[in-house]
């Protein structure tokens, strides 16, 4: 199919997607920041002093990067999935379907905006939680790399979920039964080294584990797995879901009857 990538077209869709969440930022950025702070206050209060994951690192300090990354991932997913399903259910997706935008443009715009929302919420959570625990940025480049890749991958998964779903409860099910368990079982609240051997092995099959572990490396300079291994796993997983999303967009899966 002959369709060229239009920078102006893709840029407009990206801009629209960012505006869409920014116009309701209390709900799309403020609310998730508050949720993360509540997690921190409750878990930090209960477990502070009882658990030491890395030597010399308090539990609250350990928890902050996990919560930041969890917020990045969940909100990146929420952005692309909710935007698509809303447009599908209300019918205004037709305005996009009649345009010459290529599947690359759709992908870049939806995932790009999801990354922006994920990073905005992540930055918000970090800005608030950093007052609760002393943190230093040991290897900050890993923070940036894993935040962007993780948000990109979850934004892409949100795109796939939004394409697949026909009703709001289907995207909610995808979030509750796939994204939430994979996030919670990835080591947000603990080090997988503290788990029984079987669960450790299972955790290593979860790409979310590598995102969180790599991200945390940037703060503490220590991690369960080498950040290079994490980078390879996350990049491969991202490439796989991106290939799937691009394929679905190109064939108009559940978009063009």
């Amino acid at each position: 199919m002959r369709g060229t990538f239009s920078l102006a077209g893709a840029g407009t869709l990206f801009h629209k997607e960012v505006l869409r969440f920014w116009k309701v930022s209390v709900q799309t950025v403020g609310a998730p920041v508050l949720t993360a702070v509540l997690y921190l206050m409750i878990f930090g209060h209960v477990l502070e002093g009882r658990v030491e994951v890395f030597p010399g690192v308090s539990y609250t300090s350990f928890l902050v990067p996990g919560l930041v990354m969890m917020s990045v991932l969940q909100n990146a997913f929420a952005n692309s999935s909710s935007s698509l399903i809303q447009s599908k259910v209300t019918g205004n997706l037709v305005f996009l379907l009649v345009t010459p935008l290529s599947h690359w443009a759709w992908f870049a715009a939806y995932v790009g905006a999801a990354v922006v929302r994920g990073l905005a919420v992540g930055a918000g959570v970090f800005a608030v939680t950093m007052w609760f625990a002393p943190l230093h940025l040991a290897e900050p480049w890993w923070i940036v790399v894993f935040a962007v890749l993780g948000a990109g991958m979850l934004g892409t998964l949100g795109l796939v979920a939004g394409l697949w779903a026909e009703k709001f409860d289907q995207t909610a099910a995808f979030q509750n039964f796939v994204i939430m368990p994979m996030t919670f079982l990835s080591g947000v609240f603990y080090s997988v080294k503290s788990l029984p051997a079987v669960w450790q092995t299972l955790s290593h099959l979860n790409p979310f584990f590598y995102m969180i572990d790599g991200f945390r490396r940037g703060f503490f300079g220590a991690s369960d797995t080498s950040p290079w291994v994490s980078l390879a796993v996350v990049a491969l997983a991202f490439a796989a879901v991106a290939a799937l999303a691009l394929r679905l967009l190109a064939v108009g899966y559940k978009l063009r009857a």
Partner: protein, 302 residues
Amino acid sequence: MPAVRFEQVSKIYRGSRGPFKALDEVGFEIGPGEFFGLLGPNGAGKTTLISVLAGLVRASSGRVSVLGHDVVSDYAAARRSLGIVPQELVFDPFFSVRETLRIQSGYFGVRNNDAWIDELLAELGLSDKANANMRQLSGGMKRRVLVAQALVHRPPVIVLDEPTAGVDVELRQTLWQFVARLNKQGHTVLLTTHYLEEAEALCGRIAMLKAGRVVALDKTSALLSGMASTMLRFKTDQPLPAALAPLARVTGRIVQMKAHDAAEVEQLLAALREGSVQVEDLEIGRADLEDVFIDIMQAHPA
């Protein structure tokens, strides 16, 4: 080169109740600058055909092109040439009218388009609503925005899918004046409507669809003269004589009967007299597009 070309287009939907043929080998062309009407009863396939043209639905077989651009293999060029006003009253609740139009323009790669957007807003009577959120607009106003969205990238071919369904008289007039002017400027217009008087007044050529097939395709004037009938119209509260009832089209109190010549009119009137039918507002006129439409639809049982 035709503005739009449909070549043996078929669309089969495979549902749980078995396959359904929504379009059956539809083929015709619309010349550049034409004002073309696509008519048919509900479920005839009009919206499916337009959806294939717009790329919203993929044809099961056949080809469709816009100004020579295939809507599948060369979709970007085809869609740039098309402006579609969808039938459903849809909108994005996050944005104002101006934002909606700027965004739609941007999708087509047209930025800094405010001069044309202002002109569209003025033409469609939306200037004072430019900064209103889409949610605050009435149904008629939302319909105007749909028209503006379809025209924002200045497409040479404009497709209006029942644009006046549920629209008040004022907007209908504004809309038709505007679309007629665009047509005079060289834009090709493809219109589907259930208001046959609109189609008769506006469309130079007409295709009629029934059960996914083209059952008539001609100039509007030829369709009307081909009918060559006189219509007897009157109002009555009484039942018609048994001999006349099958010949009549009854809408409430209004009765319409076809007659081929003056003698036949005379016979009908005599039969009404014999049946002691009290007749009001009797008039004898030429057949209009509605009569042609009903005639053609009855001649092609589904």
